[in-house]
Symmetry: C2
Subunit: 314 residues, 2 copies
């Protein structure tokens, strides 16, 4: 069984180049100057938003948008705004998930979380404003020439992020941990954990891959293939994350590890063991590659992305 | 000087009919069944969202969307989804503003606020999911046949609600009250209060009126007239609100009164006095009517709406 754990320098160069591109787009979107239709951008709020977004990071989701769109001939410039909109949603979710009433984390990517650097009210409002800005960016004419594409991406992103996607997944997660005022921890079965994770982390990763197809006006079968690839990568992402929490080093991960066990949190790794998890990741990588078969060698970057996601250590 | 303080039964019947229409649309949007592209809607989250939205209320902003669109021949059915999307944004903002870290209110419309009925985490996530759903609803094909109209409405709504609009206005308000961890109360000048209120409450009301014009593909001058009308009504709304806080009865208002003074909060009413405020409201109503002049008698409902907003007691 091939296990690609070695670093892939060509892939990592490409990932870093996309991250630079996205970082520049995000910095421009989070400027202090009001856009048309805005009155003013209060300094405290835009600073808190920037703190929550411009902290580096791999920018994996934007990368998947850009590389999926590239399969249909789109240059990174033609996908970077949709990619940035998605990253704004991801970052808002981190800002809110870190709040004391939720996961209560003080450190994120080695820096104080937004509510530690500012305060809770600022973090709530910064998250709200980032989520709102994401839809502004996605729907604006600069994102795609065809308004039907932009409107479709808004609907897709909202459903991936909302009550039936990421936000709903966070509620299932807090419920399972018994963290609501009236709750007790639950032991979830394998299928329940998979559904929770498909919503909480899988939906945005799937969106990233499908969005590239929508931007590139892909035929239905290619779009479905990328969505299926994204689902597989999303599951691999979560299992790798849970494995890092069990086995990883806090300094390398840039955040506290061992949190899941400390919270009595059931994951596929705690349920099935680390040996199963490593085998499952290898299987998921093969599965992701199979989903890309119709694209031939042009999908080599996305295949490398699946390996990267599955076998990363941070 | 004409002062229209008497009730206007024809107007109130029309307002109530629109509210019923919007209430039904909101209830359908907040169903427990997942939409296409959603995995599942967790019961706890959808219940908290419904608690935050389906509590009655005047539904003033949706009414303004429906009546502005009616000037261009649109039936209420053709405007009700955009109206409901706007109301979802308004309701999310109330859920988050009521949180302990923000305005710390336990009662809203005579019922416990979402974080009192559930808990803080549920209220944060319910607000997030309502905001997200608003953009789903606005961008979906059922809202308008033309995707360019839907995409434009998404951008307009996001800018009215985000860092340069409502969310930014809430930050300015919390700053003025000295409620951030590192802050002290500020005495704002008249122009600073006006800017704060134009962002915090004015932007969504202006959006309501302009959205009707966009739905109705209005010529630019008519759209500008409705936006200007909306700005005037937004200012009148806030002054009336501040006056109710000074003079109103808590039972009738459905919420605590006297809060602004208790917080040392500067409003145009505390700065200029109640006599000035009543004169200003009369002037703003005339101004709003003048903005509607080009529409002739068909704009009678919107003129009545301006009087209603300015002279309400709850």
């Amino acid at each position: 069984m091939p296990v690609a754990t070695a670093a892939d320098p060509a892939f990592e160069t490409r990932l870093a180049a996309a991250a630079d591109h996205v970082e520049a787009a995000l910095a421009a979107l989070l400027s202090g100057d009001p856009a048309a239709g805005e009155t003013a951008r209060p300094e405290r709020l835009i600073a808190a938003m920037r703190h929550g977004v411009l902290a580096g990071g791999k920018r994996l989701r934007p990368f998947l948008v850009i590389e999926s769109a590239a399969l249909f001939g789109l240059a990174p410039e033609a996908a970077v705004r949709a990619a940035a909109a998605l990253e704004l949603v991801h970052c808002y979710s981190l800002v809110h998930d870190d709040l004391p009433a939720m996961d209560d984390d003080d450190v994120r990517r080695g820096r104080p979380t937004v509510h530690k650097a500012y305060d809770e009210a600022s973090a709530i409002l910064a998250g709200d404003a980032l989520l709102t800005l994401a839809f502004d960016v996605m729907a604006s004419p600069e994102t795609h020439a065809d308004p039907a594409v932009r409107a479709e991406l808004v609907v897709m992103l909202a459903r991936a992020a909302g009550v039936g996607g990421m936000a709903g997944g966070q509620v299932l997660d807090l419920t399972a941990e018994g963290r609501f005022a009236d709750g007790r921890p639950l032991s979830l079965a394998d299928a329940e954990i998979r559904r929770l994770q498909a919503m909480k982390t899988g939906a945005l990763i799937r969106f990233a891959c499908e969005a590239g197809a929508v931007l590139g006006r892909a035929p239905g079968d290619r779009r479905a293939a990328l969505a299926a690839y994204g689902e597989t990568v999303g599951l691999a992402f979560q299992i790798a994350d849970d494995l890092i929490d069990v086995e990883g080093d806090a300094a390398e991960a840039g955040k506290a590890t061992g949190k899941d066990a400390a919270r009595g949190k059931g994951t596929l790794v705690s349920l099935n063991g680390t040996t199963w998890a490593r085998d499952e990741l290898t299987r998921l990588v093969s599965d992701a590659e199979a989903k890309l078969a119709a694209f031939g060698e042009r999908a080599g970057v996305l295949a490398a992305a699946a390996r990267f996601v599955a076998f990363r250590t941070a």
